[in-house]
């Protein structure tokens, strides 16, 4: 398990359904400002818009951990968006395992609460959460 210092050095990428927070535009800017380069946030109109390539590119560009945040199953405005996101995250994980990258580097979170969540608090909680994931092997300097 990584130390607090190590965790603070990790880069987090968040793809999130922008419907989970009505004030996402303002809250996203707030958290981006306070956390700086260690977080990158990508609002998407529905989590069903996520594609495996978004996840792979995020990892390739320096993410140590990628989160895909979706609304609760059964509550997608477009009916199946979060179910599609789940399948696409699984596919991306399969590709990651093929190249020897831990599948835990991407995680889909199906948010349980129906309202009252703000993206800045969600990001803060997830960045502060303990994980077994250390720095990505892709971010280490070439020998």
């Amino acid at each position: 398990m990584e130390t607090k210092e190590e965790r603070q050095g990790l880069n987090f990428y968040f793809f999130f359904c922008q419907r989970i927070d009505k004030e996402q535009e303002k809250n996203r800017r707030t958290i981006e400002k306070s956390m700086g380069d260690k977080v990158r946030l990508f609002p998407i109109p529905c989590s069903g818009r996520i594609e495996p390539i978004h996840i792979l590119r995020a990892l390739e560009k320096g993410a140590d951990k990628v989160y895909v945040l979706t609304c609760r199953e059964g509550l997608c405005r477009y009916r199946e968006g979060n179910l599609r996101a789940k399948k696409r995250v699984s596919y991306a994980q399969k590709l990651m395992e093929e190249i020897g990258l831990e599948k835990e580097r991407v995680e889909l979170i199906n948010l349980k609460k129906e309202n009252g969540m703000t993206i800045d608090t969600l990001v803060e909680d997830l960045v502060g959460k303990k994980t077994n994931i250390g720095s990505s092997p892709l971010n280490k300097p070439l020998l």
Binding site: E51, P52, I53, L56, R57, L59, E60, L95, E98, I99, G100, L101, P137, L138, L142, L143
Partner: protein
């Protein structure tokens, strides 16, 4: 449509290992429709290869390009300006595409990233079914536009075999019995009498079995 599936990553990895400058080339036609070799799949494979090389401390340059069609010279020609910058091309085209690219650039190593499988139809999102064997002697007008050569496991021209159960094939119980479908469709159209004739089996010797087939049309030639 020609369908294909990506080769196992390990096999691709071994194939591309000797090359440090690689161009991954997709095809925007058939293999894009079956989600094996279009722009998205090119991006995924190229990204995976770059990351895998990075984790193994290998310095590689892997670029991406997708042609509208990889089996037609006019489209392949788009590679002419860039091809010399690479050690090899990893093609996500069907077998015809790989060979066409290699014919146009005979000095370039062209590697296949896909296993070409069959002529098929998109049955539902994510489901592709073989429904044409390319026998060269189409009899679909007789069989209600359902091909017994491709869709009957036994390829019977005078079915059904009698082994189907609950409208399913006895060889592959997941597959609907082609002959059940043929009879149902002809019955509905009032053309069941078409099956009173005895049809000889496909004469494979006229086309296949004599090397690669070729179509030549004077009116299309320049």
């Amino acid at each position: 449509m020609i369908t294909a599936e990506r080769k196992p990553f390990e096999e691709i990895k071994e194939m591309v290992k000797p090359y440090s400058k690689l161009l991954v080339v997709g095809c925007g036609t058939c293999v894009a429709e079956c989600a094996a070799g279009g722009e998205k799949e090119v991006a995924l494979l190229a990204s995976a290869l770059r990351m895998e090389a990075r984790m193994e401390n290998r310095v590689v340059e892997i670029d991406e390009m997708t042609l509208d069609r990889q089996c037609v010279y006019e489209f392949i020609d788009q590679l002419t300006e860039t091809v010399d910058n690479y050690d090899a091309i990893l093609s996500l085209g069907c077998g015809a595409g790989v060979q066409a690219v290699s014919d146009v650039f005979p000095d370039m190593t062209v590697l296949p990233a896909l296993n070409t499988t069959f002529l098929g139809e998109t049955k539902a999102p994510g489901v592709w079914m073989e429904n044409c064997r390319g026998c060269g002697d189409c009899k679909l007008h007789i069989f209600g536009a359902i091909c017994p050569v491709a869709r009957c496991a036994k390829g019977l021209f005078n079915g059904p075999c009698g082994g189907s159960k609950d409208k399913r094939c006895e060889v592959h119980p997941d597959t609907p019995c082609a002959w059940h479908m043929i009879i149902e469709r002809l019955e509905k159209k009032g053309r069941l009498e078409q099956l009173n004739n005895i049809y000889p089996p496909v004469d494979w010797s006229t086309g296949q079995g004599k090397g690669p087939r070729k179509i030549e049309r004077e009116d299309q030639m320049i």
